[in-house]
């Protein structure tokens, strides 16, 4: 049985800087 994740966001680190008005992406940021 396969289980879906939120597929496009897997393995990327997502950084929400709401005060700074920006969103960041980091490849390998969680390794």
């Amino acid at each position: 049985l396969g289980i879906y994740g939120n597929t496009q966001q897997l393995t990327l680190q997502l950084v929400y800087d709401v005060a700074g008005g920006k969103v960041g992406f980091a490849s390998g940021g969680c390794n």
Binding site: G2, L10, T11, L14, V23, G29, C30
Partner: protein, 411 residues
């Protein structure tokens, strides 16, 4: 995950597309005091034992994902009748699904009681099920929170400014029960919660956050799969992100686990990482009340697709931790699909899987070569989608590109 990077292509071991049934969590970064472990709610790392009969099928997950997307689109300025219809889907208490797939554990009240919550950047109110469940509670795994046993719990008055302004975060005007503020919120899959607006101490890992406002749900019905509630990380002032602005600076980050059998993390507050590339939150009013991004282009196999910029600006783009499958405007998806199919022309096609219509039969291959896909955002920020994020596999004979097209250019 066995992959090789070859120029503009990924080489993917086909067997790696099927999730493991054994938990192999990473513990990197989990020692920080404001960091929570993130797991897939149906995966083997979930803190709750899974009843296999209750794990949703692929079709169920995709159907509910579409309901969530319809709901999101209905809240945006370009809402349409079809989307409005979709939010009236009846929720079935005790059922499963709901496409927000990732969960964290927080401590609620004093003394703290550990509760498992879905985390969601696409909504704002944090809420939990509360005793005495005046109207209804769905079954949850953790004991249902009893506010009378928390020494720091307080109801919020319906005459307070906070009560009067919660509609911006819940989508519904508040009510009053005696002198206590009553909130109500409904989600894209038809689930809803109604209850008292309250405040109490919430403990994130070892950080104690005092007087955090949240919903103490007394009528909770829908598709929350045994979870104690939801952590709202949206941009509204009601969200836990805004409420903790003085402590964490309205900054948070997360890594979703790279498969359902591993763990990620959710961290509040600044976190240094040299490799982060930032794009501005979108000023496009069409993306409110969500976190909007300005998607500018798509590359497949190193080549930029020929897509008019207006295709992206007509609808705007949002990012939402609770949506499983990325949607693109029809023209952008058509271009992507055509380019992807051309690059994979040597592999046999497979039937569509629900909304996913670019599928392949890889069952006769040990490994496959697929083109790299990158999204370009404002500020020349290129985000390459890792190979594991490109596909959804029901089995090796039906592996689908994990991107779908919207039905209308204005969605």
């Amino acid at each position: 995950r066995k992959m090789a990077e070859t120029g503009h292509h990924h080489t993917v071991t086909v067997g790696s597309l099927i999730p493991s049934s054994v938990c192999s969590p990473s513990t990197i970064g989990l020692d920080e005091k404001s960091t929570l472990k993130v797991t897939h709610k149906h995966g083997p790392c979930s803190p709750h034992k899974q009843d296999k009969a209750n794990i949703p099928s692929h079709e169920d997950i995709l159907r509910l994902d579409q309901a969530r997307v319809d709901s999101i689109q209905s809240k945006m300025s370009n809402s349409n009748a079809k989307a409005k219809d979709s939010v009236t889907l009846p929720a079935q208490s005790g059922s499963i699904i709901g496409s927000a797939n990732y969960i964290v554990t927080v401590g609620m009240g004093t003394p703290k009681k550990d509760l498992t919550l879905v985390f969601d950047t696409g909504s704002d109110l944090t809420w939990i099920q509360c005793q005495p469940c005046v109207v209804a509670c769905y079954p949850q795994v953790d004991p249902i929170f009893n506010p009378s046993k928390s020494t720091t719990y307080k109801n919020i008055s319906c005459n307070s400014d906070r009560c009067k302004s919660i509609a911006s975060g819940t989508g519904n005007e508040p009510g009053c029960s005696g002198t206590t503020c009553v909130y109500g919120i409904q989600y894209g899959d038809g689930s809803f919660t109604v209850g008292f607006l309250a405040k109490d101490t919430i403990t994130l890992s070892s950080d104690k956050l005092r007087e955090i406002e949240f919903g103490c749900g007394e009528n909770n019905q829908g598709l929350f799969v045994g979870q104690a509630g939801l952590m709202g990380l949206g941009p509204d002032k009601l969200s836990i992100v805004s409420q903790t602005a003085s402590k964490y600076g309205k900054i948070f980050s997360y890594c979703l686990p790279s498969s359902s059998s591993s763990a990620g993390r959710l961290t509040f507050g600044p976190k240094s990482s040299k490799s982060v590339k930032y794009t501005r939150l979108s000023a496009n009013p069409k993306t409110k009340p969500y976190y909007g991004l300005d998607l500018r282009g798509i590359y497949v196999g190193g080549k930029k697709l020929s897509i008019s910029p207006s295709v992206f600006t007509t609808s705007g783009t949002i990012i939402d931790s609770g949506t499983v499958i990325t949607r693109l405007p029809p023209a952008a998806y058509s271009a992507l699909k055509a380019a992807f199919k051309k690059k994979l022309s040597q592999y046999p096609r497979a039937p569509a899987l629900s909304i996913l219509d670019t599928c392949y039969d890889f069952s006769k291959y040990r490994s496959v070569s697929v083109p790299k896909i990158s999204f370009f955002f404002r500020g020349s920020v290129q985000v390459r989608i890792p190979a594991i994020g490109l596909f959804v596999a029901s089995n090796t004979s039906q592996v689908c590109l994990a991107i779908a097209g919207n039905s209308s250019p204005t969605d």
